[in-house]
């Protein structure tokens, strides 16, 4: 009976996957070019300097602001403060997710063209990206349910994971930028000659 259930699951999964793959339309992109590197570098910069700095994140989730507002302001202001902080926190996590999706798109568009792709590292990266994006979704849900001051542990974990992904992407970008520069020089020599 287990074999039958497994066979049914495999058959259903296969059909769903094939329909997903068949429906996929790909927009033309500037993969492998300097534009792709610039786009990815932009996403990385926005993450590292705009969304992940510790002082920014700790300020966003700092309980001292909450304590001050709770102690010194009327109920209406407290309500609006909490609503505003929640909106900001949700926007923050949404922006992080968008930039990570952009980095993943860049990575897959590059790696699919490389004959010397590392299967193990690709699997690890795919797992990292997926687990991080799932964590972002969970954090978003927790923010909606418990507000920005009830999820600080999850926020710290998210920042740590995003930092790790940024470090990996940065290495990959450095390698690629170097290669694009080499290509440019080669092309210049070809045109000049």
């Amino acid at each position: 009976m287990i074999g039958l259930i497994l066979s049914l699951l495999i058959a259903a999964g296969l059909l769903v996957l094939l329909l997903l793959a068949a429906r996929r339309k790909r927009a033309p992109s500037a993969e492998g070019s300097s534009q792709a590197v610039i786009d990815a570098r932009g996403a990385l910069d926005r993450l590292q300097s705009g969304l992940l700095p510790r002082e920014f994140v700790s300020r966003l989730y700092d309980r001292r602001d909450l304590d001050f507002v709770m102690a010194c302001t009327p109920a209406e202001v407290q309500r609006r403060f909490l609503a505003e902080r929640k909106r900001l926190a949700l926007q923050w996590i949404g922006s992080i997710r968008n930039e990570i999706v952009e980095l993943r798109r860049f990575h897959t568009e590059q790696s699919r063209l490389h004959a010397n792709i590392g299967v193990r590292s690709e699997l690890a990266l795919a797992f990292d990206f997926s687990s991080f994006l799932m964590a972002c979704r969970i954090l978003e849900l927790a923010l909606r349910l418990r507000g920005p001051y009830g999820v600080q542990g999850a926020v710290r974990w998210t920042i740590g994971a995003a930092d790790r992904l940024c470090a990996i992407s940065e290495k990959s970008l450095d390698v690629l930028a170097a290669r694009v520069n080499v290509r440019r020089e080669t092309n210049s020599v070809e045109v000049a000659s």
Binding site: G3, L4, S7, A21, R26, A36, S111, V119
Partner: protein, 258 residues
């Protein structure tokens, strides 16, 4: 009567696919697939008179032809993989390794089961044991096709109309056969509703219809990737150089006139 209707429509569609391949020279692009269709067509056409005279003999011979076409089906799956990832060496390498891994894992498991006498491997024996063997081979085929689909989705790879049709048609047939074989293994010969046998034949006819439409003419992907980043960068740079040349050339008439 229904059996013959499905059989005839299947033969007619196989013939149409083969004739169309000759007219459009599609067999040059998908040689394994057309060999597979030719093989299925030949075995179906030759088994028909046998079925009319002796269904018992037909069932015995059917398993041999089924096994040959099943092995050729693996060739079709490899052809799908080759065409899907021909412009993407990274994804192609990934698919190869994942496919070999799945193949080794399933046949390793199959070998261990056989050694422990859980699944006897006597191909000549009919009934549940052969169904089990067929089911396991179909599972490997399904996993191969699944890997192609997962990689195409993960790497955002657009499949051409031909490859899409090949993959969906093959997937449909493999999925239905897999479920039928699994049912047959669990419930045995006592469980043999007419609809089950017709379901496989009908799904195969449906797959033939998909293949006939999808492989009517050769189709490339609409947005192929640059063969390397160098190509697109080179084009941009060459265009800029051309613009500069045009600008320089535009000064020439005045120099000549003067």
């Amino acid at each position: 009567m229904l059996v013959y209707a499905i059989w005839i429509s299947g033969l007619a569609m196989e013939l149409a696919i083969l004739l169309r391949a000759l007219a459009s020279r599609m067999y040059l692009h998908f040689p394994i697939f057309y060999s597979y269709i030719l093989c299925v067509f030949a075995s179906s056409a030759s088994l028909w008179p046998v079925y009319a005279r002796s269904p018992e003999l037909y069932h015995r011979l059917f398993w041999y032809s089924e096994f040959i076409t099943l092995i050729m089906g693996y060739g079709v799956v490899l052809e799908i993989t080759h065409h899907a990832f021909k412009d993407y060496p990274g994804a192609d390498r990934f698919a190869r390794y994942a496919g070999i891994g799945a193949f080794a894992a399933i046949f390793g498991w199959f070998g261990i089961s056989a050694a422990l006498h859980k699944i006897p491997m006597e191909v000549t024996a009919l009934g549940r044991r052969v169904d089990g063997f067929d089911r396991d081979l179909r599972i490997v085929q399904a996993i191969f096709l699944g890997i192609v689909a997962v990689l195409a989705v993960h790497y955002g790879i657009e499949l051409s109309k031909n490859v899409r049709g090949l993959a969906v048609g093959m997937g449909l047939f493999v999925a239905v056969t897999l479920v039928t074989m699994a049912l047959s293994v669990v419930y045995g010969k006592s469980y043999k509703p007419v609809i089950l046998g017709e379901l496989v034949s009908t799904s195969y006819d449906l797959s033939l219809g998909v293949w006939l439409v999808a492989l009517w003419s050769y189709a490339e992907v609409k947005n192929p990737p640059p063969s390397s980043g160098m190509k697109s960068d080179y084009r941009n740079m060459a265009e800029r150089t051309r613009e500069k040349l045009r600008a320089i050339r535009s000064h020439f008439p005045s120099v000549v006139d003067s």
